[in-house]
Amino acid sequence: MKKTVNYFTLIVMVFISMTMQSCSKGEAERRAEYSQIVERKSASDAMNELYIAADGEIESLARMLQATPSVINRIRTGETSPTEDFEEKYKEVLVYYNLNDRSFSKLQSALDVEYDWYDSVLNFPSHHPVLFWGINIILFLLLCWYLIIILGYIYLAEIILFAVAWVAMLICSPGQMEDKYTDSINPVIEQKL
């Protein structure tokens, strides 16, 4: 079983390296440009952009920035201002978010400790659309032309994997985050204006 998984993964990886290696054209300029744009944003604007990106998942954003929801809310509403180090940190996160198709789940994949294997599975089609649909279409064509029945099992395994991941996501959703700074500010990362 492990060998089958390994060889399938090898095929997938070769496919990735063939399709994705040529994507970095002009990336350095793009990064420099985005960094400048983000740098010019005010502290609360930058935090608001991350807040909108999180789309209600403020606890996830807090975990990524190693802060708490109340700290994020105070900074984004301008009630407090971030320390220099913290501002630099979340602006770096914002640049990464902008460079990665403005996808919050990609940001979660990179930084959220609660982003688990089932999230990786469920988000795989959106994070790697070329790879996912490319492989599935090739498998489908092989199945149709050569009637290789075993390929049907791969589809079945894929469906089962997604179903298991979905159930795991429902069962293992992270518990509520402890917020120690609802009544007082966290002087390490924010300061009164």
Binding site: K2, K3, N6, T9, L10, M13, I16, S17, M20, Q21, C23, S24, E27, A28, R31, M64, Q66, D85, F86, K89, E92, V93, V95, Y96, L99, S109, A110, L111, V113, D116, W117, S120, H128, L131, N186, P187, V188, I189
Partner: protein, 273 residues
């Protein structure tokens, strides 16, 4: 029919008893949590008592400094442990293998820089130091409130902002680590099969032996690949540890001097009034 009603009644009574009990427990917990510690402040204090309190506070000062030292000295290892827990291992290993193949060098550099600032910044250290100071402040105030109601009880030196130097940690080697993991995943199979074939060929020159069953080879492969992956992870951890420079020095003596000075001023004031 009658029996069913009796059973249902018993069940209902049992449920109400359980819920009553839990309500009582809840009420008790509430009462206990509302209990406020009120100290009767003595009107006259002998110098011996004042001295005892002063010594207790000086001990709290030393405890705080010791805690600061331990936070600063042990923090890197804690960060490393957190990094190991979240970024090395089976599933994450596969994720990084895909990542190094699917992303360009620049994208990977961004990705690892983000991880570096997440795991190896001084933010968590500063937060722990702040928490230690908050605990110190609360301990000293509680102690002082036992013998005085003076507003001077609150005159405790302000929190010292420790200027911790940022650690220049690079996770660039994670790319090499992930490539090596790919080689381990696929190379181990091949290497073990070739090795087994070689051993079988040598042994069968002297004895009649067709080789071990396939499942044995598979088990050997799995064990070998797990062992090599763990070795690779440990190498990565060691390479990060090598980058860490233990150059964080905090002027503890000055801080302790300030705290002791404040303590002595307060107890001198108490002795005079």
């Amino acid at each position: 029919m009658q029996k069913i009603w009796i059973v249902l009644l018993c069940l209902f009574y049992g449920l109400t008893q359980i819920s009553c009990q839990s309500n009582e427990e809840k009420a008790l917990r509430d009462r206990l949590s509302r209990t406020e510690i009120t100290n009767k402040v003595p009107k006259y204090l002998s110098s011996a008592v004042i001295n005892e309190y002063q010594q207790a506070e000086l001990a709290i000062n030393r405890k705080y400094i010791k805690e600061v030292n331990s936070i600063v000295s042990e923090n890197f290892e804690e960060k490393l442990e957190e990094f190991e827990e979240n970024e090395l291992g089976f599933f994450v290993g596969y994720k990084h293998m895909f990542k190094v193949l699917a992303n360009s060098d620049e994208e990977l550099a961004d990705y690892w820089n983000l991880k570096t600032s997440k795991y190896f910044s001084n933010q968590s250290t500063q937060e722990k130091l702040h928490e230690a100071y908050a605990n110190y402040n609360s301990d000293v105030q509680q102690l002082r409130n036992q013998i005085s109601k003076s507003p001077k009880c609150k005159s405790i030196p302000k929190e010292v902002k420790f200027n911790l130097p940022s650690q220049e940690i690079s996770l660039g080697k994670m790319n090499q680590h992930s490539y090596l993991n790919i080689a381990i995943e696929f190379g181990t199979d091949l290497a073990v099969w070739l090795l087994i074939m070689l051993i079988v060929a040598i042994i069968s020159m002297f004895f009649v032996w067709s080789g071990p069953p396939a499942w044995v080879v598979t088990v050997i492969t799995i064990i070998a690949s797990i062992g090599l992956s763990m070795y690779n992870d440990n190498r990565m951890i060691d390479s990060i540890r090598e980058q860490y420079q233990e150059n964080i020095e905090i002027d503890n003596n000055n801080i302790l001097e300030e705290l002791d000075k404040s303590t002595n001023i307060f107890y001198d004031y108490i002795a005079k009034h």
